[in-house]
C-alpha cells in the first residue's frame, strides 16, 4: 500500500482577522485517504480549531465543497495521492462570505435556491444504470442536486454579479419546469427570463465541470433558453399563450 507524507496548505480565517492566511500541515496519506479525511486527521492530531463542513463522506450530502489545488471539489471523493502533487492547497469555495477557515455561509445560496420551491424527491425518472422491471416505469428517488454550491463557486459571473440567480438555482428552476406536478410554470419561466436569469450566463460551463452530481447546470441553463425561445416564437405566431 502506497503511503506518503503530504503537505497541506490550508487557507485559515477566524472572525475578526483582517484577511485570510495560509497554514501548512504535514500528514500521512495512503491510497484511500481522501482530502476530507486528511483534513479531519489534521484537526484531530494537529489543530483542533480547523473549521470545515462534512457529513455523509460519499458525495450525497454536498457539505464538504472546497477548492482543492484551485479546483471545485467535494473533499470526500478526492483521493489525496491521486492528485499527484506533494503539496495540496485547500481553500474555501468562492463567491460566498467566509465564516471561518474552509466554511462559507450558505444562506445566500439557499435564499436564491429556495425561491424555486423544487420538491426534494423526483416523482419519476428513467435511469439507465439498471434494467427496469415490467410495470416499473421509473424509480422514485432524490433529486440529483446536493446543494453543494460548487457550481456557484466555479461560476465566473457569480463573483462579479451578486444579483445573478446562478447555476444551481437556474438548474432547479429547469427541473420544476420539466416536472411541474401541477405547478404553473409561467411564473418560473418569467422569473428566469431576465437579465439576472438564464440570459446572464456567459456559457463558460465551469458549473458543468464543478458539478459532482450530474446536474450539469450549464446544460439546464441552455435548456431554459430553448424553452423561452420556443415560448417566444409560439407567442409571435399566435399559437401559444398558455406558457
Amino acid at each position: 500500500m502506497a503511503e506518503q507524507i503530504i503537505e497541506f496548505k490550508v487557507q485559515r480565517y477566524k472572525q475578526g482577522q483582517p484577511a485570510p492566511t495560509y497554514q501548512t500541515f504535514k500528514t500521512l496519506c495512503d491510497d484511500n485517504t481522501t482530502v476530507l479525511v486528511a483534513l479531519q486527521d489534521i484537526r484531530r492530531d494537529q489543530d483542533g480549531s480547523l473549521v470545515l463542513r462534512h457529513s455523509c463522506h460519499h458525495a450525497s450530502c454536498g457539505t464538504c465543497g472546497m477548492r482543492v489545488n484551485g479546483k471545485e471539489e467535494l473533499g470526500c471523493v478526492v483521493k489525496v495521492l491521486d492528485l499527484g502533487t506533494s503539496t495540496v492547497t485547500v481553500e474555501p469555495m468562492r463567491n460566498m462570505p467566509i465564516i471561518s477557515d474552509l466554511v462559507v455561509n450558505m444562506e445566500p445560496f439557499y435564499d436564491r435556491y429556495n425561491a424555486v420551491g423544487m420538491p426534494y424527491v423526483r416523482q419519476s425518472e428513467y435511469l439507465d444504470e439498471a434494467d427496469l422491471a415490467e410495470g416499473l416505469e421509473a424509480y422514485q428517488r432524490y433529486e440529483n442536486c446536493i446543494e453543494c454550491n460548487l457550481c456557484v463557486s466555479g461560476c465566473p459571473i457569480m463573483g462579479s454579479d451578486e444579483l445573478y440567480l446562478g447555476p444551481a438555482t437556474l438548474a432547479a428552476a429547469r427541473r420544476v419546469i420539466e416536472e411541474p406536478r401541477g405547478v404553473p410554470t409561467k411564473p418560473l419561466l418569467d422569473w428566469v427570463d431576465s437579465e439576472n436569469g438564464c440570459w446572464r450566463c456567459h456559457v463558460a460551463y465551469e458549473c458543468n465541470t464543478a458539478c459532482p452530481s450530474e446536474v450539469y447546470p450549464g446544460d439546464q441553463i441552455m435548456a431554459l433558453r430553448r424553452d423561452l425561445t420556443k415560448r417566444k416564437f409560439r407567442g409571435l405566431f399566435g399559437r401559444g399563450g398558455k406558457g
Binding site: 500500500m1 477566524k14 472572525q15 475578526g16 484511500n32 481522501t34 479525511v37 479531519q40 484531530r44 483542533g48 480549531s49 480547523l50 473549521v51 470545515l52 463542513r53 462534512h54 457529513s55 455523509c56 463522506h57 460519499h58 458525495a59 450525497s60 450530502c61 457539505t63 470526500c76 471523493v77 465564516i99 471561518s100 466554511v103 450558505m106 444562506e107 445560496f109 439557499y110 435564499d111 435556491y113 429556495n114 420538491p119 426534494y120 424527491v121 435511469l127 444504470e129 439498471a130 434494467d131 427496469l132 422491471a133 415490467e134 410495470g135 416499473l136 424509480y139 422514485q140 428517488r141 432524490y142 440529483n144 446536493i146 446543494e147 452530481s213 450530474e214
Partner: protein
Amino acid sequence: MASFHAVIIGGGGTGAAVAHDLTLRGYKVTLVERGEVTSGTTGRHHGLLHSGARYAVKDKESAVECIDENMILRRIAPGSFELNDGLFVALTEEEANYSHEFIEACHECGIPARRLSAKEVLACEPNVNPDVIMGVQVPDATMDAMRMPLRFFATAKHSGATIKTYTEVVDFIKRGNAVSAIRVRDHTTNKEYEIGGDIFISAAGAWSGKIGDMVGVEVPIRPSPGVMLAVRGRLCNMVINRLHASGDGDIIVPQRALSVVGTSSWVVDDPDNLGLPRDHIDMMIKYGSELIPGVRTAPFRAAWSAARPLIGPRGADTGRELSRTFKCFDHADEGVEGFVTITGGKATTLRGMAEATANVVCQKMGLEIPCGTREFTLLPHTAYYA
C-alpha cells in the same frame, strides 16, 4: 409554560430531535456542536429508514421501535424519503427456511412482510443474484442521512432554538453536585465563553463516553464503527438485504444514482480515529456482489467508516452482540444533578429517543408537558439555512 433553559451537547440527529421536542414543550433551548450539524455519525450512515425487519428475530425491542418511528417519520417528514420498500433475499436453502421464522417475527412486531417467489423478486429487481430462491418485502425506505435530521434542526431553529455550530465544549462547571454551565470554545473566533443552563443533555452519540468523562460520570457506550462502500449506478430500486441474522455486507441501499453497500462492525476507543480497514472494503464488495453481482463491476465512488453509538460495557467485542435500542441515563443516580445522557438508538428512532429524553427532563424539572412531535409536520431541510 416552562422557562427552563435546556442545553444540548451534540448536533446529530438525536440532538436535533431533542431540540425540536423541548422547544415544542416550551423550553428555551441552546444546542452546541463542535463541527457542522450532522458531522458525526448521523450523516454517515447508509441511509436506511428501518422497517425494523433486520432486528425482528433477535432484537424485538428495537424492531418495534423502528416500525413505530418509521410510520411517524413518513407522516411528519413527507417528501423526505425514497419510498421504495425493502427486500430480503434468500440465496441458500437455509436462508429460505429462515424466512418462516423471519416473517413470523416481523408480524409479531407489527411489521408488514410479504413473501415473494424468486420470479417475483427478479421481476421487481432484475439485478439481484439470479440464484435467489425467494424474498420478503418489507416497508424499509431510503432516507437522506443528512437532510432528514436537518428538518428537525430547521423546525427547532424557526421555533426559537439556538443552534451553535463549530462550538466545542471544553469544560463543565458545577455548583455543588449539579452541572450549572458549560465552557465552550467558538472555533470560528477562537474565543471561549460560558453557557449557563438549568439542565444539560448529552446527545453526543459515539462521543457521549468522552462527554461523560468530562462530567465525571460513567456512560456505558461503545463506539462501534462499520465500513460502507458507495458505487456508482442505481443497482436496485428497493433496499436489498440478505435474509439471515445480521452480518457483514448484507445490505445495499440505493440512493440517488448510487448504491451503498453496508456494513461491518468492530469496536474502537476513540470515535475520532476509526480508520478504514481495507479488508472491510473488500468484504463489502465480496458480500455485496453476492446480493447484486453488479456491485463488483460498478465504478467506485467512496468508502468510509461511521461509528455507531452502541450501549454496552466499554469492553464489548465486535458490537454485533449489542442491542440497537436506546437509553436515557439520568446521572442523578451517580450523584450528579442537572445532567442526562441519551445514547444508543439509530437515525430511524431519533424522534422517539427525543421524546424519551424530554420526558426524563420534564420529570426532573417537575413538569408535566406532553410530547408534541408525533403529529408536528417538520419544515423542509432547506429552511435550516434560510
